[in-house]
Symmetry: C2
Subunit: 187 residues, 2 copies
């Protein structure tokens, strides 16, 4: 079913609000149009390209610093962070992240992105993983970009901080689960 | 309580049978004697040094080849493997595996060792992780050696293979849990 241009641009706007880190290729597939059409739509709607949108999110919303580890020890690029609340990072899946044989991302790299984001979001000098429960719901291939979103959800009976993490490629969830984090002291 | 030499050597023999990959430092701590005393005990009991014991286990019991991935993609050194049954690997925790700040091993390296062992033990060309449930029960420090033991435990309702993994430093468990593995076909 072919959509009118107005209809497509309205949906495009909605999609960008829900998933600001979707790229032009994914949008083109979603709307069954060419990438060039998506680019023209974005220009007409004054939606900047992905790289600019990521920068903008980082500049607008991110005024905190990770505490539990040096920033360079986070796996993936942190683009949003509010300590003890939420964090977002991006990991581009390259050749070093995949099985040589089938180019599918290895589980421990997706784990590393999610786990280090769970560490980063904790507002404490010390944050250690006590438990993890994860589902890997879709294969991730070389060349895809994984957006991980961590949300601090409260505490367990034992006082461990629960961090929920969902990782996406485009709008598809690829990893979902939670970490129980030990931290050294209460804020 | 100081043990007699005969008593200590009897316990040492038992300990070596249960945990053949324990090292002299750990034994010295366990028996509250010097490392030199442990070495002399081993000589008298004709127990070879750790390196030789590891080689011996590898040579005696390991006559299979991993199928789901090239051996060099396994994180850690596989020292025992029986496809679809069990596998053991060793990972020496070095500076690149730890948080710079506190020298505690990062969760994703322990995950990587356990997860890649779970992949390696599957007797199939394709093995992918669908789910993991893990507890990190003790911090692992730089310089420690982690022995991961994977056991294939049957199948879930959905036909996923369950692999139980326990990782140890000496006799202490540091990681325990399981992976649900998708494989491409039945043998």
């Amino acid at each position: 079913m072919k959509r009118s241009k107005a209809e497509r641009q309205r949906l495009l706007n909605d999609t960008m609000e829900e998933t600001p880190f979707i790229n032009d290729e994914q949008l083109a597939t979603m709307f069954s149009v060419s990438i060039q059409t998506i680019r023209l739509d974005r220009m007409e709607l004054s939606i900047p390209e992905l790289r600019e949108r990521i920068k903008s999110v980082a500049n607008n919303h991110w005024d905190e610093t990770v505490r539990a580890l040096p920033m360079e020890e986070v796996i993936g690029e942190v683009i949003d962070l509010e300590l003890d609340k939420r964090a977002i990072s991006i990991l581009n899946i390259r050749s070093e992240h995949v099985f040589s044989r089938n180019k599918i991302a290895r589980g421990h790299h997706l784990f590393a992105q999610a786990n280090s984001l769970a560490v980063a979001v904790i507002n404490d000098e010390l944050a250690l993983t006590a438990k993890s429960e994860l589902k890997f719901t879709r294969q991730v291939k070389e060349g895809e970009r994984v957006v991980a979103k961590a949300t601090v959800e409260g505490k367990t009976d034992k006082g461990l901080r629960i961090v929920q993490v969902n990782s996406f490629v485009g709008q598809e969830i690829v990893l979902t689960g939670n970490f129980h984090m030990y931290q050294s002291n209460e804020e």
